[in-house]
Amino acid sequence: MSETEKRKQRTLAAETWRRFKKNRLAFAGMIVLICLVLIALSTIVIDLVTDKAIYDAYVIKQNLRMRLQGPSKEHIFGLDEFGRDIFMRMIWAVRYSLFMGTIAIALSTIAGGLLGSLAGYYGKVTDNVIMRFMDVLLAIPSMLLATAIVAALGTSLTNVLIAIAISYVPTFARTVRASVLTIKDQEYIEAARALGASDSRILFKYILPNSMAPLIVQATLGVAGAILSIAGLSFLGLGIQPPTPEWGSMLSSARAYIREGWHITVIPGLGIMITILSLNVMGDGLRDALDPRLKK
């Protein structure tokens, strides 16, 4: 089989994966992300298995005599203002940002996707009503919206999740709606309808699978944004509360001690940046891999 024939036989998913792999930056981002997920999962397992013993001993335990010590051989990232080991706190902090961001976006995708498909598919009044509502949500800058929700409802994990999920719904609704509008008019949908397929069957079997591409890209980038928002909220004291380790709140407490050591300021921020960078790079790579027009 010649190279050309081989090329023609690949499925869309396989072709996308092949193009994605060629993008070394995006691939590296994915590897980093997988490592982070593994770290997060392992902390969950460790906590379950040891009944939070390690957590209590290393992540929360204060040691005021040694506070604000810089990086050393035993504590590679140094100690924070309560003498807690920053390295351990960094490791434990991964799961909050990562999983909360993912769950918030997952919720948002489902809600936004549903609204977007209904709006795009049924059009007219449904479309108008739904999109006006989305316009209202979009008129409020997302950080402000999330802050208002958390301010009102309190700073629990659930509330932060809800706040961020809601602020992303309009973006996903728009993305899905745009896809649905394009696909709706294609001839294979007409053909399916002529064969008697019901609305919900058409929506779920034909339209949604073909709208996945832009949605996946948006979702990846959305998780990055969500993590940023969570960190920002925590920084303001409105998100995850200490002593639970979270990068944003770690930076917040670092403010008062900014002169005492660069490590408390630089390191948590680096954690946020690396996570978000990997997600962004992956999202960009996905977008390029899925766009048939882009060729290097």
């Binding site: 010649s2 050309t4 060729k295 290097k296």
Partner: protein, 329 residues
């Protein structure tokens, strides 16, 4: 060596595209010429290299990935390939103009049509005053049948056919000696096609412009061209007068093309297309590029590269069998 009547002489032009997926051998050793005032038709399938040739003349081949490997493009005694960018710019739009395939997207949507014509006039007539530039732009609009009042309108306010007329006005505004038209009517309705082509021919006769008309439509060729060149897989495989090509086609590909046109007078059961596909330009066969599809092919066809053979002063063909047939006559 240039003939006195010759305006453009392309000699052994070879252009490749070097991409990540391999080298695309778009044009291989192409030679042809256009005489003053004549219309040369360049016929070929999609992917044969027509557009690369057209762009190559004006040095508009995107580079990277395009690379001009070899050849000369003689125009008015100068090799265009040896000129620098500033010198080329003086030629584009004033000595040689080009119009592209899709009128719907070939005009800048945020500039008025008047401004777009003025732009080319201004670029090549620095001494003109603003009024003279505008006057010329208006004159060009009228020449293509559009009221000069409409010069402050935007492209989206015109239909496809009218957009193409604006594009022609831009191309002819500085009275070029050669107009390269890359499938100017392919994107238009058949009735509009006829009108636009008629207009181009009328203007070209009036202004004594030569034209390189690129198309895949043999009907257009028959009605508008003086001479015809057939291009296949980056090579010219036959060239001759209109009469030569249509009445005495020699290359099996040319014969196939002409044979595949549905006829109004003959009764046939089926259309007769040419079997197979044009070879992948990244993976061209050795020898004759058409041999894999040719029903007359013999071993010698694929053994070595085939040269052009002159049947008479005007008619040349790149086929060893056609050569023998002609020699027998």
């Amino acid at each position: 060596m240039q003939n006195k009547e010759e305006l453009l002489s392309i000699e052994n032009l070879t252009i490749h595209y070097e991409t990540d997926d391999g080298v695309v051998y778009a044009l291989n050793d192409v030679s042809l010429s256009v005489k003053k005032g004549e219309t040369l038709g360049l016929v070929g399938e999609t992917g044969a290299g027509k557009t690369t040739l057209a762009r190559g003349v004006l040095r508009l081949v995107p580079s990277p990935p395009g690379v001009i490997k070899n050849g000369k493009v003689m125009f008015g005694g100068t090799d265009l390939l040896s000129l620098n960018e500033v010198q080329m710019r003086a030629i584009r739009g004033s000595n040689i103009s080009m119009i592209f395939q899709d009128p719907m997207t070939s005009l800048n949507p945020v500039m008025t049509v008047g401004q777009q014509i003025q732009e080319v006039v201004e670029a090549h007539n620095r001494r003109f005053s603003k009024e003279e530039v505008i006057k010329q732009a208006h004159a060009m609009l009228e020449m293509v049948g559009i009221s000069a009042d409409r010069s402050s309108e935007y492209p989206h306010q015109f239909s496809g056919g009218m957009k193409q007329r604006v594009i022609i006005a831009i191309a002819l505004a500085c009275n070029p000696q050669l107009l390269i038209a890359d499938e100017p009517t392919t994107a238009l309705d058949v009735t509009i096609q006829a009108q636009v082509l008629d207009m181009i021919t009328a203007l070209k006769d009036r202004l004594h412009t030569a034209m390189l008309l690129i198309t895949h439509d043999l009907g257009v060729v028959a009605q508008n061209c003086d001479r015809v060149a057939i291009i296949y897989a980056g090579q010219i495989i036959e060239i001759g007068t209109l009469f030569d090509i249509f009445k005495h086609p020699l290359h099996p590909y040319t014969r196939g093309l002409l044979g595949s046109i549905p006829s109004l007078n003959k009764q046939v059961q089926r259309l007769s297309p040419i079997k197979g596909l044009m070879p992948d330009p990244t993976d061209l066969p050795a020898g004759c590029k058409f041999a894999p599809r040719c029903k007359y092919a013999i071993e010698a066809c694929s053994a070595a590269e085939i040269d052009m053979h002159s049947i008479n002063a005007n008619h040349q063909v790149r086929c060893i069998l056609a050569r023998e047939e002609a020699d027998d006559e």
